[in-house]
Symmetry: C2
Subunit: 220 residues, 2 copies
């Protein structure tokens, strides 16, 4: 048997590459996000992430230190995004009832449209929020969400439209729960009830139900 002649060894070694730190970072983050979302923190493999990147594993460690640093960066980015989303809402311009309905609808949609975010939060909760605690970038935010609800609730209460004695946090938890659960538990719901919550009709029906439920919760 004749062995094939050796290929011109590593000629492209000298083919030049251009520096693009930000591009590299973004690329790694996007791939890492997908991996962590799919496999969790312990399930994700650094080698796998590196392979799906257009860069080498070396870059991950150069930019993010270690696996946990990379995970933290992914988490921070995800929270930064939802913060942007929250700021885009202007509930003060709406009458109380419409404000609550809008907030609920938007929250529901954000979760349904960003299952990656939901799964990342699940993963982080499995780890007892250890990395949320570590990250200085995340700790301060999100009280604005409660403040927004408090403002709307006060208006509705004074109007005599909403009932007395509700806690803004309780309202927030209800809205979140009704938005989060169908996404986080999509798989078990499908297995146990044969229901696909991701299907457009099921999703739309559930969305209407969530809004209706929250309105009934806050109104007299």
């Amino acid at each position: 048997m004749v062995t094939a002649p050796p290929l011109p060894a590593k000629r492209r070694k000298s083919a030049s590459w251009t520096q693009d730190p930000e591009g590299v970072r973004r690329d790694i983050l996007a791939v890492a996000r997908a991996e962590f979302v799919e496999n969790g923190l312990s399930g994700a493999r650094v080698d796998e992430i590196a392979a799906k990147t257009s860069n080498s594993k070396r870059m991950i460690y150069y930019y993010f230190g270690d696996k946990e640093g990379l995970y933290r960066a992914v988490l921070e980015e995800a929270y930064a995004r939802i913060r942007t989303f929250e700021r885009s809402l202007d509930l003060a311009a709406l009458p109380p009832r419409e404000a609550i309905a809008t907030l609920t609808g938007f929250t529901f949609d954000y979760h349904a449209d960003n299952p990656d975010f939901v799964r990342l939060v699940m993963v982080e909760n499995i780890h007892h929020g250890r990395h949320l605690a570590t990250s200085t970038k995340i700790s301060v935010l999100n009280l604005s969400a409660i403040d927004m609800i408090r403002e709307v609730y006060e208006r509705g209460r004074v109007d005599g439209l909403f009932r007395e004695g509700l806690d803004p946090i309780d309202i927030h938890l209800t809205i979140s729960a009704l938005s989060f659960y169908n996404v986080s538990n999509q798989a078990s719901i499908r297995q146990v009830f044969g229901h696909d919550m991701a299907a457009p009709e099921a999703r739309e029906r559930r969305r209407r139900s969530a809004i209706e439920t929250v309105l009934r919760m806050v109104c007299r």
Copy 2:
């Protein structure tokens, strides 16, 4: 320096052990459950489980085949338990309103009292319900929960107490969401709002809120 004289090597080798297959199984399952709940499927370590058992790693593989088999057994046991819980409810004996309130309260309590179950379901959902699908023991159950709700809802609807056009599954999802979320997302809620949902007062307040919300959802 004088070395200590060798200990009577492995004298207890002949110390007899008694066979107790069921005990061994239960012991392993309990430890494994704790490990999977704490670290997820990929995060759990077979060696760690073995170490916390009063048996050797060999036993795990003897009784459960491999790590996934062990995980599946844990999952099956958890679902068997909640099925037992569901069967213990007798809603048919209660008037519709009380039946819904009771079901919601019980469901809320079950989740709050069994965070292990909640976390196991989270882990399984991260894995897209792959093992729920594999397990023949689990696939058939749980439709009873929906049937129970349907029966109660029909009674209430005919009475003119509940509003028309509700889907029993939708009611179930709402009850589950309101029971599941505060447990599953306990860590992130604490990090972001400084609220400890496990605290007795917070839990009790949330419980009342959940019942009230579900009642307002189904009643006219």
